[in-house]
């Protein structure tokens, strides 16, 4: 039988432990459980996934090009993707491709559409009247400094009304050029291939793109097929990193950034969580290593400063930000979990009112 002092000891121990638990619970509850949520895992786009392999196969509709070096060389058997073929050649040419249809059906897309205003809704409705439903017919949009390439299903499009005043002219085998009337020069020209690909840019660029699509000239897109993963992907020249230096900052730092990184490959998943990977590569391995360390330190400092300054949005943005080293160069990873996105967009739908963007017919 336990002695009274043993019973008292046990009671005091129990009280001590319970009070410690109560203190911990109080701490967690008074913080709203926020710090603990940081452990939620976000998957970053680092390679092709099964669905993306299938997507690539579906899109490869162009016949392989004939061999260039001579009749003895075996012809390439790989079919080609017209949108990639249309892109201007060069491994470090800037291009960003948006998987418009996938993005439209993503969580981010839903939230974004919920925030559209009256002017956007009217524009969408106008395009639908002309036979193009931007929420349904557009598959991909590729943005380059030279222009725009849009792939999709444009069988119902009334091109003459979409480009009023433009003169249609057949080009190549299956393309049509829409040139505005008047003096030729740097005017915007539209080119349409098989009602599947719309190209916008200067006349020279659009013609060159159509030549690549139809196989008259060789295509060497800045993105290989195996680099088309994520809902947004692309390539930026290293010069783009200069934008990291704030305006008025050191010009020398901006120059060094541009020199260290010759190419930035961008991939973003956005179906649920938004996860962005920017793969930075360059010739000077030591400079890249220094750049990776600098960015890592800057992220760590920014994270602590944002927390100390109470900037909750920045804290959430930097929560999953990291620099991952390995292979050639390094990757800068940023993520926004879906629940954070929803919180950021919270109230937007209510503010925008009922159904601000028209539903598809």
């Amino acid at each position: 039988m336990a002695r009274p002092s043993d019973r008292r000891t046990a009671l005091w121990l129990l009280a001590g432990v319970l009070l410690l638990v109560a203190t911990a619970l109080l701490t967690i509850l008074s913080e709203g459980g926020r710090p603990a949520r940081g452990g939620a895992a976000v998957e970053f786009p680092r390679h092709l996934r099964a669905a993306e392999y299938q997507r690539i196969e579906r899109r490869a509709v162009l016949p392989p090009l004939p061999p260039r070096s001579g009749p003895d060389e075996p012809p390439p058997t790989r079919r080609r993707d017209p949108l990639l073929a249309a892109l201007p050649p060069g491994p470090s040419r800037a291009v960003v491709v948006l998987e418009a249809n996938a993005l439209r059906h993503s969580r981010l897309g839903e939230l974004f559409l919920g925030c559209l205003g009256d002017a956007d809704a009217r524009m969408i409705e106008d395009l639908r009247r002309l036979g193009v439903d931007p929420l349904k017919d557009v598959d991909r949009v590729a943005v380059t400094p030279e222009g725009l390439a849009v792939s999709g299903f444009f069988g119902q499009a009334r091109w003459g009304e979409l480009f009023p005043g433009a003169e249609p002219a057949p080009y190549g085998g299956e393309s049509t050029l829409y040139r505005p009337q008047g003096p030729a020069g740097e005017q915007l020209v539209a080119g349409v291939w098989r009602d599947q690909l719309l190209l916008l840019g200067t006349g020279r660029e659009v013609q060159a793109a159509l030549d690549r699509v139809e196989g008259r000239t060789a295509a060497a897109p800045p993105l290989r097929e195996d680099q088309t993963y994520g809902e947004v992907y692309g390539v930026l020249p290293g010069e783009a990193l200069r934008a990291l230096v704030p305006p008025g900052g050191s010009g020398d730092l901006a120059r060094r950034l541009g020199q260290a990184a010759s190419r930035v490959e961008l991939h973003a998943d956005a179906m649920s969580d938004v996860a962005v990977t920017a793969r930075v590569s360059g010739q000077d391995a030591a400079a890249l290593e220094d750049l990776a360390r600098t960015l890592g330190a800057a992220l760590a400092v920014a994270r602590v400063e944002a927390r100390a300054g109470g900037d909750e949005r920045l804290v959430e943005l930097l929560e999953h930000a990291r620099v991952a080293r390995g292979g050639e160069g390094f990757s800068l990873e940023l993520a926004l979990p879906a629940e954070t996105l929803e919180r950021w967009f919270a109230g937007c739908r209510e503010r925008a009112g009922p159904r601000r963007y028209p539903a598809a017919p």
């Binding site: 002092s5 121990l13 895992a41």
Partner: protein, 277 residues
Amino acid sequence: MSALLVAADLLREARSRRWTLALAGSVTLVLAALAVGLRLEVVDGALAATRLFGGSLGSDIRSVDVALRPVFAATSWLVFYGGSLFGIAAVSDLAPSMLAPGRVEHLLSLPVRRWQLLLGTFLGVEALVLGGALYGGGGMALLLLAKTGVWNPGPLLAAAMAAVAFAPVYAVMLGAALLVRSAALSAAAGFLLFLAGVVAGERGAIASAFEPGAARAVFLAATAPLPRLTPLAVAASDLAQARPVAAAQVLGAVRGALLFAGAALSLAAARFERKDF
């Protein structure tokens, strides 16, 4: 009631001890130094200008209490951190001397339960620390009143916050003294908990420096039961400067500190119950 009698007895004994005199003397010295050395001519000038030109003097002239905010803030930090650290050093030998052979047997022979003895010691030290902090804070408030004509009870509130923050620290010191009867160990435990409390107060910011995953989870779990002292210090500073205070956050930190003190005292009582003298 018995605990209160023990506390009163401890205060009576403290009056005759050298470190209590040192505590009062140090606080008086700091107050005297401030009284002589504080340059408040700018504030005096602003006051005079206000009297000379009337109420409105344009945007460059700030009210005295706003102009004095840095002084009030510095005072509250001094009272909070300086007072706490000095308090740890000053009271560290109290529990070990209470447990000294000869003394402890006498105390245990009194019609007082062991936990009451422990609680009484804790309350006595808390009263002593509160008295010292209020003396320093109140003295500072009076000093500023005399110098500037502005009454700001902020330093007094900062002193109260310091006393709240000291509760978990001294509870741990008491427990440490029961484990090993050593003033140095007791003080070390107090300093460690004080540091841990400062870390716990910034655990959100510090956690973000850890990679999401096991390391961060361990850090958050380890710091969750600790008293968060930084919010109390910040609240003391804000109160001293008459700035708005996030009441829910401060109340949470106060409750956490008191709960932790209760936990540490309970564990100390468990140890005391089993200890043979």
